[in-house]
């Protein structure tokens, strides 16, 4: 009798747990798993979003590798990834300064995070204006006599990519600083004080005390910003260069958007790009999981 009641109770508990997460699972099934599987399947077809969807095997992929700016897109994504070490280094520098609570650090913390609050649409437009032909950057360069450097920043591959990297780095410093500061809060202040008492300089404290003690936070920061750079910079590219000139600043994720609006609705080909993007993210995630063990330890 008692055992029966316990089993009944346990069974209720089990269903309580499952029922609590069921709505989320149903939602994710429709909003994430189904479209992901659909994209994978459609990448082997000549889908146009309507009725045409014939199986064409690997043709989309062959097209992408042979007859598309794919390697240019890959190059652009890799160039944009150079923002990650830049962000992390500057963010670390700022975090250490904030940690030492220099005068006015609260104010600095507020300001340093400010770009994250502003829409990428706004930030992108400000950068586009800043680096336009008669924009503030060129005006300033001409005023101080550096006419040579003034030019069509967004019209050339190298400088356009530079502007994007600069913008993404500038935008992300605050996020990095706050994340790293959070990691540093776990270092016991005694360790830090001891190092300072022993006469360790700012650089010594940074390299021999802070960095080794926040390696997990740094890993997290690097991985998240890598994935972010590969997946979430659409609005920046859209509002600064719109992927141009040509495909010179188009990344793989931006290409999916361009395919979506391309004449003839090449959704099958766009899906193949989506699968390639997924594969790249997956590689990053697997490598990252190896390094950082499990997502559950990130809390």
């Amino acid at each position: 009798m008692t055992t029966q009641r316990i089993t009944a109770r346990r069974r209720f508990k089990l269903s309580e747990g499952i029922l609590s997460i069921l709505p989320v699972l149903v939602l994710l099934a429709f909003m994430r798993f189904y479209p992901m599987l659909a994209a994978i399947y459609r990448s082997f077809t000549n889908w146009d979003g309507l009725y045409r969807s014939d199986w064409i095997g690997l043709a989309n992929y062959v097209q992408i590798f042979v007859n598309s700016p794919f390697f240019k897109l890959l190059r652009n994504s890799l160039v944009l990834l150079t923002t990650v070490p830049l962000q992390v280094m500057i963010g670390l520098l700022v975090a250490v300064l904030l940690y030492e609570e220099v005068r006015g650090w609260r104010f600095f913390r507020t300001i340093i995070y400010l770009p994250q609050i502003i829409s990428a649409v706004t930030i992108g437009y400000l950068f586009r204006v800043a680096f336009s032909l008669d924009g503030p950057v060129n005006l300033s360069l001409r005023r101080i006599g550096l006419d040579l450097l003034a030019g069509e920043w967004l019209g050339n591959t190298g400088t356009a990519l530079f502007v994007l990297v600069f913008c993404l780095t500038w935008f992300s410093i605050g996020w990095q600083a706050i994340v790293i500061l959070g990691g540093m809060a776990k270092i016991s202040p005694e360790v830090f004080e001891a190092a300072r008492m022993d006469g360790a300089s700012y650089w010594q404290r940074t390299f021999y005390v802070v960095i080794p003690m926040i390696s997990r936070t740094l890993e997290y920061a690097v991985i998240m910003s890598m994935v972010w750079t590969l997946t979430s910079v659409f609005a920046f590219i859209y509002s600064i260069t719109a992927g141009g000139p040509g495909y010179e600043t188009t990344t793989i994720d931006f290409m999916i958007y361009r395919k979506f609006y391309q004449a003839g609705a090449p959704y099958g080909s766009a899906s193949a790009f989506a699968v390639i993007l997924l594969a790249i993210i997956l590689i990053f995630t697997v490598v990252e999981m190896r390094v950082a063990n499990k997502a559950s330890e990130w809390e």
Binding site: I112, V121, F234, D253, F260, L277
Partner: protein, 278 residues
Amino acid sequence: MLGKINQKLSAALVFLLLLTLSVSNLYPFFYMFFNSVKHRTDYLVNPFRVAGLELTWDNYRTMISQFRILDLFRNSFVISFFTILLLLGLGILASYAFAKLRFRGKEVIYLLIISTMFIPVQATIIPLYVFFSRLGLVNTSWSVIFIYVGLFIPEVILLMTSGFRGIPDELIEAAKLDGAGYFEVIRYVIIPMGRPAIILCVIFYFIVTWNDLFTPMILLQSMDKRTVMVALAALLSRYSGDPTFQFAGLVLASIPAILVYAFFQRYIVKGISLGATK
């Protein structure tokens, strides 16, 4: 002696560095604002000039009367509001289960949900667009809201689960002994005790959804449904446009998120440093 001078020097350097960074963070927004209240010709003559100019609010007036930016605000607010409402509803139930209930497969399901964070929205947007157009929901706020909830729920669960784990089990047991059922436990124990995580989600996802461009740009193509960022992005992509007018729109569109940041900054900083959101 020398050490002291050194220390003072490095303190000054540190201050200078932070000051430079602050100026580089503030100046662009300052530039945007003071040019938005200039006449167009003054802007074209010298965009840096601040003092001694006749100011005008015409750009703001036109933004409100012609561009109807307040209608766009309403569209954006509706999407942010219902996204947050659904995120909280689904997130609190699921996070309570992950933090406090025992059931088979919990760890696996948790990791499965969290791992969907790594699927970029671009990879799924075309099937989703076709899906919603078959349902007749393209050009409605609901399509964007449901996509958002699917995109952000893993992070919400990550954040809330870690927040709810800190709630003492004894409180829940005591409530149950007093006869509290499932929903009463959530209503009287989980929500009040887990408030910091819940507030963080509200603030953070307001800012994210308010500022986002990609999803609403694909799903909302009719003029009267667009969010403020979609409409502004379309306005900005016309190269011939008037920058001072465009700045005015961007200033207005930035205000809600800046206000939220100004009032709830400490929650955001705390949440980011928990390492759970980006």
